[in-house]
Structures are given as structure tokens and as C-alpha cells.
Subunit: 325 residues, 3 copies
Amino acid sequence: MFNPFFKNHGPFKISELISLIDSKEKINIDKEITDINDLNSANNSELTFFHSKKYKDIARKTKASYCLTTELLKNELPKSCIAIIVDNVLVSTSKITSLFYPQSINDDFDKTVSNIENIKFKNKVTFGKNVLIGENVLIGNNCKIGHNTIIEKNVIIGDDCSLGSNNVIRNTLIKNNVKILDNCVIGKHGFGFFPIKNKNLRYPHIGIVLIEDNCEIGCGATIDRGSMSNTIIGKNTYLDNQIHVAHNVKIGENSIIAGQVGIAGSSTIGNNVRIGGQAGISGHLKIGNNVEIAGGSGVIRDIPDNSKVMGYPAKNIREFLKDNR
Amino acid sequence: MFNPFFKNHGPFKISELISLIDSKEKINIDKEITDINDLNSANNSELTFFHSKKYKDIARKTKASYCLTTELLKNELPKSCIAIIVDNVLVSTSKITSLFYPQSINDDFDKTVSNIENIKFKNKVTFGKNVLIGENVLIGNNCKIGHNTIIEKNVIIGDDCSLGSNNVIRNTLIKNNVKILDNCVIGKHGFGFFPIKNKNLRYPHIGIVLIEDNCEIGCGATIDRGSMSNTIIGKNTYLDNQIHVAHNVKIGENSIIAGQVGIAGSSTIGNNVRIGGQAGISGHLKIGNNVEIAGGSGVIRDIPDNSKVMGYPAKNIREFLKDNR
Amino acid sequence: MFNPFFKNHGPFKISELISLIDSKEKINIDKEITDINDLNSANNSELTFFHSKKYKDIARKTKASYCLTTELLKNELPKSCIAIIVDNVLVSTSKITSLFYPQSINDDFDKTVSNIENIKFKNKVTFGKNVLIGENVLIGNNCKIGHNTIIEKNVIIGDDCSLGSNNVIRNTLIKNNVKILDNCVIGKHGFGFFPIKNKNLRYPHIGIVLIEDNCEIGCGATIDRGSMSNTIIGKNTYLDNQIHVAHNVKIGENSIIAGQVGIAGSSTIGNNVRIGGQAGISGHLKIGNNVEIAGGSGVIRDIPDNSKVMGYPAKNIREFLKDNR
């Protein structure tokens, strides 16, 4: 995953990692672990995690040296990978990821900001009153930034972008010629946590928001950054006002999304898709290319390319209209 | 009702109160009235109101000395309570409540604010640029308050809270370890008024918003304070982005509410409830404990404990999915 | 159309206008064109456009000297009107309108603003911290403007208005005794553009937002200005929080619109209409007077006066409830 922003605080000794979690394992070797990664990407200096049978084929081939898993799944792992048995794989994964990436858990306001008047690149930007800029921010040529907008830490903006007023942006990569209107919040962590009685446990969000060339983001949008992958808005995609894009969502190119639409976490939307106002897309779905979704629809299943759907649950638009004269 | 914020401007003479409203009553005794209260809570120095037959059993036992009511209902009152006949009980109640609590009607911006740099407790708070603090605000230890956030008058915040940027908060009690992200408006009056041609009449909102320990409130939330009771978010309840919580709503503990949900006035949501994105709950409903409401649902009836519902109107989820393959 | 704000940069020579667009016409006469206007309103110094057969009766009577149209439609025009044949009438219209009204295309933040402390009328307004005022702004007596609110260019506000904090307003005419709560964006261009692969083409929005006497606009509203007509909120109409009103929408008087409602472009809503929370109205519809639309409904057809509707698609409420026990 491309992630220029979150600093890996590793390596950590495996014994140190195990002491963080609820495992009864005793591992005396003090091997250094450089990162935590998924079953497929992890290398032999890394830790991985395996929590569901559906990943068993990938698990068998993992190159990781250690794997957080359960008694039931451990036998799927290769001999080169030592199982660390835990009660809850995802909670343990979260705790260890938090150690490697401590700044990806909580999104307190960014104390590092300064008024743009004090920033080196102020001369190539047109800016309003009270614009604040955090650490690790780069802005291209010929950009405009409106009043009271806060570019918190970890933001890269290309050329010819126009940002309105009252926006809050962090952990976001914006390409060229992008317009962001007013009152948007972009790059905050998503609504991702483990529900625990009395005190939920937030999991890390080490992804970013990536907004490609020529996009327009309407007023009042909230676009959350990804947890283990990025949230992406493809080239020349336009979002109307009051849209919510949850973490890990990927929207293709040349798509048009009308007001008050909500797209739940980890769903993928194709190219040339049109979504009418107030439609909702459930999480973890795949919406194909050239799909049209009527306003107000509730999409709860994958939609193949070139379909037109309507209703709740959304189905073929002709069928829906025939059933609902 | 627990209400630390709105100052009672009484007592007023009963003759003065009657002169405010459309009643033809002549009451010559200049008895002092200390407050206006509901039929059940009013004591013998207070005025009450009785506008619907469904409250007749409570009306019969009221201890109030005077009661705003109608010709049709007046005979239900005990002899100790003098009926004041009016054309519209709720409008008259509103006018008199407005006299006792004049600051609960209109929510003009708070002129009393100062920059937090000038506030006594600034040393125990970590704060951003342009943070404004109104009168009658208390903030606990180890709190963070983001840029441009306005804590208007009548706000108490506990320890270890993290508020983001661009929030506007008033008439709100926030307990410990609460997170409020960005661009929220919390504690404004609700959408409550009497529709009158050419010029509606707003009624008082003397309730507050109470946010219990360990809650998280997502970006762009609007949480209105109560009119005659409080709006409550229970412990460890998490709200995603762009949620609207109307006046007098009470949400239980450990509940999880996804993006763009709307909860209309005076509804009660139980503990351990999960509500999917964009679902809507009508007003004055009771949603039980451990209920799951699918995203996009429209709930228009009470939901018993432990139910899973989906659809519009929301019904048993299995039934809904069977009917909508 | 009443439009006090957008300056006409014409006249332009007809040859200059033609050189902007994809027409093969050669017109050697250097006639000056003063404006672009619809078929009905254009006079003989103006250019018009004709893109659909349904306007042929109006086209036959147009007084315009020139008309952007297609080979198929040109014969409907009177002899006094010279057809200029183009591939895409609306795109060509947009390009020429952009020349006459160059400031109506892009809504970059307003660089002309000053702190209200420096404005002439500051003494008759009660204002908060960091209030910014753009060029061509007039404010009446006894108004209140909350903290961080930005009144960008081209705004007229009447007497006795109360604006909250964090609002962004431009190109808007607000009459008397209007309340606008917090975090609203009013008067930005609508979601109107021609979808073109890789780079959409925005069309001009030369309309304004007009908010009549005694209205109330809730927190987080977005109300877009019109493209070729105005967006209007009629007298004493109240909008709850998080409502989206798209460009060219006209809402009548004494209407009540609950939270999170969305009204798509160019729809007209009558007087005394009540719309429940989260309802959506598709574009280009006509909703009559005294209509009630239940919360969560999706309206996709015109609704006659005095109807009560519910459902998606919205239909007679009794029928809906009978079908959905």
C-alpha cells in the first residue's frame, strides 16, 4: 500500500509484542520484527495475522515468521511460520499495529499547525484569513485555500487546486486541479473499532485519502482515510454536497455522485458510475463500471457492470418501476 | 429534570402570567408563581398545563395551584387547582415558559465568548488557534480543543476529552473521555415550534445535551438539546459522521450508530443497539435493547428488545429479505 | 430573472461568440450581442438557444437575432432569427454564457473579504469574532452575525436577521427576520456541469439564493444558488438541520422541512408543505400546496395539491400503509 505518511516505529522484539496481547505463548528468542502485514505481503522479518478460514490458501504460503491466529486455524500455517495463539486475532492485531503506528489510532486536533503566513510556500498560494498549515504539508503551484481552512499534518496537494473555507484535511494526497468546496472533513480515521463493553477499542487507520486529478468535492463532505488500505476518489469524479465516503472506499474515474449519498466502508465503485441523491451503498460491495443507481436506493449486493438499479434493496430499474407503478 | 443551565426568572404574579396569553380569565389574587412544570412534577406554588385527555389520570392528582387547560378538560382537575381556560394550551404554555426562561427560545450566537488565551483554566487544556469560550463553561483536566472550536455558554466538560476543530457547542454536559470530531453543532435548540401562518412561534428548549463517558461523536453531527427534557447519549456509544439527533432523544449505552442516521424528536434508543447507515427513526418511538436496525431502514413503530429489523417501514429482517429477494 | 449580482461583461461581437464554440458558421456581420437569454425573454440584440423540440412553439416567436441550435431544429425559427448550428446546444450555450458572466462558473473562495471591524456598517450589527465581509455586501439594522461566519461577495441581508457561526454565504438575498443557524453553506454554485471524459465542464450559475421573511435555516444546510433561475425559500418556511436544497429549487411559504431532507435541482415545492425527515425529492418535480410527505419517502413524480404521500416511490399514504402493515 502506498502510504507516505505514517511512520513505522519498529522494529520491536517478538517478546515485546507478545507481552502486549492476551496470548499465553512464551517465546524466548528475541527476534526483531520490522512490521505487521497481511498474510500475502508479510516477509520473514514481519508478523502477520490469520483470523478466518477463508484465507487458508493464502495462509499456507505466507512468508511471515510469526502469525497471530487461533488454535483452530494454526495447522494451516507453513512450518516456517510460528503460530501465536490469541483469543481475538483482530484485537491483538490492532494492539500490535498500534505499537508500530501509534499516530494512526487517535485523531486529536493537530497541534503542529502554524498560520500560513509563516510557511515557506506562502508565496505560491493564494490564501484567505486564518489558514492553518500542519507539519509535513506540501502544496503545488497556483492553489487557492479559503478562510479558516485547516490543512493538518500529512497532506500533499498538487497544482491548480481550489479549496474553499472551513475545511479540515489531514493524511490526504490531492493531485492536480481538484476542487474542494466548504466545510469538508477529509482524512480523519474511519468508524472502525472493536465494540467492547464500557470502552470500545479503536483500531489503527494507517491508510490515506487519495483524490485524483480534476475531482470536485462538494460542501460538507466527510471522506475518511483507510484503515489497512487507502480511500480513493478516481480522476474527474464529482461529488455533490453532504456526501459521506467511509474508510477504504475506492471510487473510479468519471463518476458522478449526487447529494447526501453515503458509501459504507471498503466498498468499491467503478468508472463512469452515476449515483442519485441520498442513495446508500452498504459496506464491502463491488459496484461495476457504467452502473446507474437511482436516487434514494439502498444497495446491499454487488452490482455488475452496465446495470441500472433502483429501490431498497436495489434491483433492476425496470423491474422496480414495474413492481411500483 | 437535571438542568444546571437555564436560569428561572420567576417568580411572577399569576395576573401577570395571564395577561400574556389569550385567556379571558380574571384572577384578582396576586399569588406568586415560582415556575411552570408538568402535571406530575408541579407543586402548589407552580403553574401546570393539561392539553390532552390521555393525561387525565395525572391531572386528577396534580398539586399545582393553576393549570392552563380547555373548557372540555377542566373538570378533570382537583379543586385545589384553578383552571385557566385558553384556546391553545401548548401555545399558552410556551409563552409563559418563555417568560420564566427567556434565554431558552432563541439561539443567537453567544456574545459572551473570549479567546481561551484569556480564560483561567487555559493551563490545563491543550488548545488550538482561535478557540472561543463562553460564560459558565467548565473544562476538566487533560482535555484537547481544536482550532476554531466555539464552546458557547453553559458547557461543562469532564476529564480526558478530545474535541476537534470547527465545533459549536452550548448547553451541553460532557462527561469523561469523550471524543467529538470536527464540524459538529451540539446543544442548539431543536426543530420545535408552533406553525403559525406568516410567523411561526418557537417554543422554549430548557433541556440540555448530556454526553456520557467514553462516547465518540463523528464529524458533522448535529445534536439538539431537549425542550422539556434532556437529549442523552449513553456511555460508550459511538456515532459515525453526519448524524442528526433531534431534541429529547435518549440513546442508551454501548450503542453503535453508522453514518447519516437521523433520529427524530423524543425517541428513545436502548442499550447495545446497532443502527446501519442512513437509517431513520421517527419521533416519539421506543427502540428496545440489543436491537439491530439495518442501514437505510425507516423505523415508524416501536421495536421490542432483541429484534433485528430492516426496510421501510422496518420489519423483521428475515421477513424483509424473504419478501425482497 | 431578478439578479442583482452577476455583472454582464458584454456586449460581444457575434463573430467573437461564434469563434468560442464548435460551429462551422461564418458570419461576417459584426453585430453586437448584449446578452444571452432564453427563447422567450431574448430581445433582438440578444442571442438565444433552442435544444429541444418541446420548445418549438416558443422558438417560432422568439425575438432574438441569433439562436444556437441544431440542423434538425433550425427550421422552426422565424426568419428574423439566424440559426447558428452547433453539435451540442447546451455546451455552446454554457461557453457563451461563461463569456458574458465569467464570475458565475467557479466558486473559489472570496479574496475580497475584510474583517467586519473594518466595514462601514459595523456599528449597526452585533457580530462575533473573525467575521469576514466581502465586496458588495449590505446588511440591515439589528442583525447578528456569529463567529467565523464569512459573508462573501454579493449578499444583501435585511433587518433583524440572526446568523450563527461558521457559515459561508455568497450570492444570496436574505429578507427580514431570517434565522440561519451554524455551519451552513448558502449560495454556492449547484452540482451542474456537462460530464466530459477526463474533465467535466461546469456551466454558469447566474442565479442567486433568495430567502424570504421569517425563515429559519437549520445547522449544516447547503442551499445552492440557481443556474439560469433563482433558488427560493418562501416566507416563514422552516428548515431543520442537515438539509440540502439544490440549484433552482423553489420552496413556497409556511412550509416545514425536517432534518436531512434533500431536494434535487429545479423542483418546486408549494405552500404549507410538510416534509418528514430524510425524505428525498427528485429533480424537476412539482409538489403542490398543502402536501404532506412522510419521513424517509422518495418522491419521483409530481404530487398534486392537498395530497399525503409516503414510501419509495412515494404514493398515497393510506395505500402505502395498507400495503405495508
